[in-house]
Symmetry: C3
Subunit: 349 residues, 3 copies
């Protein structure tokens, strides 16, 4: 075997404090943005229109937050999760400066914790990953933890270090890139008259529509992010695997849920933070994704009367409509595939 091929890091290859430099850097373009629209049908006005974005004080339309997430995440896969069995969770995800076509993103990660599993064959790797633009500004900073195989079950186990993980990104740390003159927000062109003031804590919103996933779609999306996780692409191997088919990248469902959430949350300008999230069950081509959201908190931003934050729980299901908010009570619903805890920014009256 040539030594040129990379098989990815195994559990025993990680050390706490280790700095990982991910490849390749990525200049994002209008082409990426158009593909994202075609893949998810997202209709948020700030991402759709340069003049609309300018009415919010931005130079032009930024990329959808979740496209930024996928691009930063995608870069980390070859180093962190090529030998992962499961993506266990996210915490402390904070979006920084907006990303515009023409920007170049790089991703770096630091190993912040390690926990060998008792089976001796796997362990949990905790990383903090950051996406940085060409000016050195942070566009995204998040923790994630994954269960990774050991190459050699006999390899010595590192000491267990489970890092402290924030329950939520503090409101004071949410990045708000907008400057909104009074009355400048065009609700008609945004697609909804409802602003931050109109939402109530505890309010549940059925996003109504469903979107069926095709193999070509999730593969196009995941390759666009240069995410190389094998399970998404290789039917020849996966047909012998646990599910008999390719698994859809979990982030694909996040993007579908975010796009569906336009119906009910059209003025959610961007995702400012991902506090936590679970891919409750895998999705596959042929599944139809639905979503509903609950308003968990309404947070005023310090010193800002124009824009507020809504902390949301968005639940996505497959092959099940969400008019009765499956999973809203303690009972687990087998249709649930995603449970996401995040904050969006929204204009105030």
């Amino acid at each position: 075997m040539s030594d040129k091929t990379r098989l990815g890091n195994f559990f025993e290859d990680f050390r706490v404090g280790q700095h990982l430099v991910h490849a390749p850097p990525r200049t994002v373009t209008h082409g990426d943005a158009a593909l994202y629209t075609a893949l998810f049908g997202s209709r948020f006005a700030v991402n759709s229109s340069d003049p609309f974005a300018q009415s919010l004080g931005l130079p032009r339309a930024p990329l959808d937050s979740m496209l930024v997430f996928h691009l930063v995440f995608g870069r980390t896969v070859a180093d962190i999760s090529l030998n992962a069995i499961a993506n266990l969770g996210y915490a402390g995800g904070m979006f920084g400066v907006p990303v515009y076509p023409g920007d170049t993103l790089r991703s770096d990660s630091r190993v912040i914790g390690l926990k060998p599993n008792k089976d001796g064959k796997t362990g949990v790797v905790y990383v903090r990953s950051t996406g940085i633009n060409q000016n050195g500004q942070t566009v995204l900073d998040y923790r994630r933890w994954v269960m990774v195989k050991k190459r050699d079950p006999e390899a010595a186990a590192p000491a267990t270090l489970v890092p402290e993980l924030p329950d939520a990104v503090p409101v004071a740390e949410l990045h708000c890139p907008y400057t909104l003159a009074a009355g400048a927000f065009d609700t008609a062109r945004a697609g909804s008259a409802f602003l931050w003031d109109d939402y109530a804590v505890g309010e549940r919103i059925d996003h109504v529509d469903g979107m069926t996933i095709e193999e070509a779609e999730h593969m196009l999306a995941t390759r666009l992010y240069q995410n190389t996780a094998k399970v998404h692409f290789n039917q020849h191997v996966e047909r012998e695997g646990r599910f008999g088919k390719r698994i859809v990248y979990g982030g694909h469902v996040i993007s579908l849920a975010r796009a569906l959430s336009f119906n009910g949350l059209a003025n959610a300008l961007n995702v400012a933070a991902i506090h936590g999230g679970k891919h409750v069950a895998p999705s596959f081509a042929g599944d139809t994704i639905y979503a509903w959201s609950e308003v968990i908190a309404k947070d005023a931003l310090p010193g800002r009367g124009d824009i507020g934050a809504l902390r949301l729980r968005t639940v996505a299901t497959k092959d099940r409509a969400c008019h009765d908010f499956p999973g809203h009570d303690a009972t687990a619903d087998p249709a649930v595939v995603l449970d996401l805890d995040y904050s969006v920014l929204m204009p105030r009256r």
Copy 2:
């Protein structure tokens, strides 16, 4: 139920004279143009090459006319046809200034007629929709009428007002954006030696090739236009529906027919008008679309010796080749899915 979700307008929500402001505005880019090429394989030189477009007096390559149509149309769906049962017809469709990457389009509609159906459950809504660019210039203006459900069958019926609908856009109103110096049109690079002068009224052209539609393709296209009509996307619902499967956006077939028509009409620079059109039957993934055209009229443009108009009837079929021009006589052919009456501009000798 939260009041935040939009379920679309029902028949009783429309009033004659009502002005509808559609969301969101849309900055179009090279990404949209590339996706359109990938989806339909269109080869018209003026849309493919900046220098070629410049040889016709344009600043650079404009978007394909039908991409403009779909983008303007797509914006109207959430307000007009989310609860439509059928798209009944088009009239008076006039393309204005060309659309270039970087332009921002918005769509508005006015309700120009209403006709309650006798069943008491539905009615016909007539709208005139316009697409406007960032300079306030009209890029497209068309009428369409759709059959829309009532929310409440007991709701009072509005008075019937059926608007006057033009049989055709007058030749004098066709917008011709080109300036063509004598001998400047490069037929070799355009892909055909045949110019306006070479076509005869009554001539029928088989466009020969067939193109099979995949689910991922029509969904990518329809989402690119931010058209949210449910029947295109949700297999979980549609498998219980009338056809047992998702219905392809009718405009997808128009774009396939226009792309196929390159073989026989390569010098049709753009669509200048859509006089009328019928989606005769629905199409589905797996269908192979063919097309043929007949020259209905040859129209000189007032004061223009360089460019003329051809009025065309283009018929598209599924799973049936068009060498014998199905549907050309009075007999309805069950393979026909589209019957479009439109005008294109073409260089003259």
Copy 3:
């Protein structure tokens, strides 16, 4: 039948020395580049990042070499291979100046040989095709030969002229567009520490991963190149054909193999030459493509200490992993679909 439809050239339509001007010219954009990434998941840093490309002395990120190949090739199909039975081979393929978003490419071909087959129904057409940018610079120059049907079996056969075909592009003629300052190449961001010096002649590299092809994907790709070969698109006809299904454009497999080769050849900046290649067997939607490569030669570039060339043989298979390098010995392996002989450029220490 109208005379407007083009049915492509048949064997008897070609003459040695004939110059073919292909349509249409094509302005390439960021949209094309994004689609290419989404279709193949390519991760080469020089194509992914403007700043990375600038560190190599380029003005910005160029298009992937194989996207350039497909765009130039795609233009030739309508004139050369619409009535082809088989694409027999390539020789003397030389990439010239890099292609950047905004460039406009045109393709021309010259017929360099003709050989009637004994069956009297077909013949081999040899062409030399060139891709030229808006400044008149060559971006690609290659020979290919295809077996083409005769329209009329009774048509007179031309004299046989089989052109001399180069076994390989001479090293001195490889175009190297880079200027690499000592130590300027960032191997961490490129994704591999291995440079030209680290590869050995005879070394075989398993590229490990497999990628399954969907119908929507190969059709999107092939239409993006405006390649109109019928067998890729029309299931209505192909289901009655030899294979019962659409055939994947052979170039699609080349691009998959090149993208997969990142794992093992991450620092192969571009393809500089295609010396020869065979589409050994057809591929179809549902096939999973794997690849392996062998280093055939290490070529220093005259006067260049910073960059060297590797001559590679890359073999792609379907539904068969490549850990044992299928096809590396004289035994034909039924899983092999592509056997490509080409040179890449790679930084030296």
